[in-house]
Symmetry: D2
Subunit: 265 residues, 4 copies
């Protein structure tokens, strides 16, 4: 029953129920993290403790939502894969993105406060994130999506590593380093690092080169339409209790995926 | 230029650009705040300090986005009115709701930590919010929208005040109080409060009965299509620097709106 | 009850319910009418009998749907204005555009067969139309929308009149006429017509210069939320029985609209 | 360049680009065909000549759009399957449904005029259709979709056959026949037909029992991402020139699909 004659305004609400039986990827992205990293004096090119905060926040989020099968993160962004049969929030778009943005933000702030007691967060520069959700129909799209993000991570990290080496060890200004790198390809950057600074990029930490992969690991039983209600509930329970493991390895090739068939079942 | 052959996956992204020249209302809503209020032992029926945290968080958000003309909040929800000409994030739906959910969440957590040093937030019970955005074509809809929320605040607060009085002062269990209130109308609840406990509901604090209204107050100059570029920039600057005032008064009648014509210009 | 286990596929259907309390404009547009006009040897620059077919088809459509307050057409396109309170097909987008496209198409074909018995339509070149619907929040948008279409009609007709005069009376090839008009403005075209061919563009038929306006004319009683059920039904009945008048006049200025306040009530 | 200051109204147009790499099914549905069939005195329970008109119209449509791989029709509705890689109208929803509704309507009218010269169509009862498009991610959904429609055809045809036999041969009124069939299952209806009227439903025409399947038949070469540009063009050409065959057979089982792997490639 309407509580007042004003309640008609609810009729203007619109919902986008995302297509059933498709993979969903929610990507969260830090807002203004360039300035954030300056404000809180991140180590350059990578701040391992800040990455740890980000990874911990993502782990917490994954712990909350058993429909997330895996996640991939790098720098201030993270992508979460929701399984095809996921019916979280009835697959409502706004509910999904706003909730994920909220969770990642408060978890980041909370973990930051634990990790960096010496760097208290200021009101003017709180960590915030936006989020988007994308619908993908096939496993191939999911493979390609994560390959896209990992290639991106590689490109950015090679650039940043070279840039900051030129600045920190090479004594260049930012502008000079930028100009030096203009038009260079990967091999050029590898060469700068090796010839001028004796750095072998291959020896850099995997977490920087490959990003972070979070996987819900569990004793795999194939889910399917042919499972009884009771069997489905058991699988669901397994999913909830599954350990969330952290990796820093290649997800472009087949090995990672072949070893974890449940991710794309 | 595509950085890799995987980049085609971006083509699956979809955007909902909300209709131009319409009012937008973003409503954020606390997730699981019933349990949150139990975990952190809120005063009942209302915890003035927790409300203060919420109001402060909403104020901070409003300070960030000058397109927000006013906001109305009550309990764990807040509605933000964006002006018709607002082009924040190109009016992209997911960007708007995820950003607002993120901002309100971290600001709430941040303000909580300042207000309640004696009640540290636990990882298992972080404050989180979802958000939705609704498009309204006319000023009448906006008036009715805020009336809807304020009526709702009144109904809930009268119920909660009576319920908790029956429990705290009347010694009832929650179940008994619930049964006592089943089928009662407003006048019944007023009578219970008055006759049985000597409480005149009208004397309750305005912030509980009316909720909180935040208003961007500024020396009003009519904005319009006929303003020069320079004039528009001046108005925009005014908006950014405008004080954000907090009120607890009736917004169903005309007075509030007549005194602030710029809100619905 | 589900008739078969296959019925779940209905869950993939999506509906876009267009925002309530806004004007809707459905615009239908002929597909491949350039070739259509060649196939059936339209008179150039305008074929008055083909225009008559188009106008008749639009009139029939308007007769079917009393929610259409007015329409504006020119060449092979027509725009239909649906009133703000219109709830035709629950304002479902696909239903609206597919139905309008269907109606205009069969009516065009039907009227063509009556008007042009000497030019039977061939299977390979049937008259077809697509349709789109656009949501507009205010009366100003509607005024500007129709101004946009009428300006467009004027620009196209002036161009076509000059082009075909150069070809038919001036003996130019299409390519030559095209080159002659490259970079010319309105006054140039008026001058070509007048100086070279003694044609005063102002004396051309109004239907060519202004397009066609169809208006649901009825004894105006203001509709509003304050009308009783019975009064509303009477107004609705009036609307259904209203005459649909055809005009060829200016709709950019205020006169047309001031004389018909019910169009944008 | 904007031709006038009114052109901003185009910014209110919205497009829904349907998800790439998914099957699309466009279903057209006759509007008010119950009355249409009464007006033009269709034979009952099925009018084979009217079905022929419908099938011919669908064939014409399929001839126009080589992206349609197959179609299934029954009574006054038809479903068209567009291949996964289809980029017709950039997969814009309104464009697709309005165009399909337009094509089927004028083709139906055109074919009707050829088939039924003795039953001229009246202006007040033109054949019109609406259309919707649905996105399906996998081949299983497509199989289930067509099974759904064919089961529906069977259920309706068995009902109609029994109903009209009771009326025409049994002398019942429509109301009496309706009551007689209330609560009956398939076997009941089969028994009525057989015991009371000596009709073996299995001997009814396949076109009535199974509906009509239109298939684009062509010498199958697998399409794929690994085809060269030239090979793709050849496949596309094949598709355009492919014969469109008409069948009336079971599409619920595997046989039909196994024999035509290109339909769901």
């Amino acid at each position: 029953m309407a509580k007042s004659r004003f309640e008609y305004v609810k009729q203007f609400e619109r919902e986008n129920f995302l297509l059933p039986d498709t993979y969903l990827i929610v990507r969260v992205d830090g807002k203004g993290f360039h300035k954030f990293s300056e404000e809180y004096e991140f180590s350059k090119p990578n701040d391992i403790r800040a990455l740890k905060v980000m990874n911990k926040a993502a782990q917490n989020l994954m712990g909350q939502f058993p429909d997330i099968m895996m996640a991939y993160g790098d720098s201030d962004e993270y992508s979460f894969l929701l399984r095809k049969k996921c019916s979280l929030f009835e697959r409502r778009e706004m509910k999904l993105v706003s909730t994920f943005a909220s969770f990642i933000s408060v978890n980041y702030l909370h973990e930051w406060n634990l990790e960096f007691p010496e760097k208290p967060i200021k009101l003017e520069r709180l960590p915030t994130f936006d989020a988007r959700v994308v619908v993908y129909p096939t496993t191939q799209h999911i493979r390609d999506y994560f390959s896209w993000r990992q290639v991106d991570c590689h490109i950015n990290n090679l650039y940043n590593t070279t840039f900051w080496t030129l600045v920190i060890k090479g004594g260049m200004t930012g502008k000079e380093a930028e100009n030096r790198l203009l038009g260079t390809v990967s091999s050029d950057k590898n060469e700068i690092l090796f010839k001028e600074f004796g750095i072998n990029y291959n020896n850099e930490s995997e977490i920087f080169k490959k990003g972070t992969i979070l996987v819900r690991e569990y004793d795999y039983t194939r889910e399917g339409d042919d499972l009884s209600k009771r069997q489905q509930q058991r699988v669901e329970k397994q999913r909830k209790k599954a350990l969330i493991e952290e990796y820093h390895l290649d997800i472009i090739g087949d090995t990672f995926w072949n070893e974890r068939p449940w991710l794309l079942e």
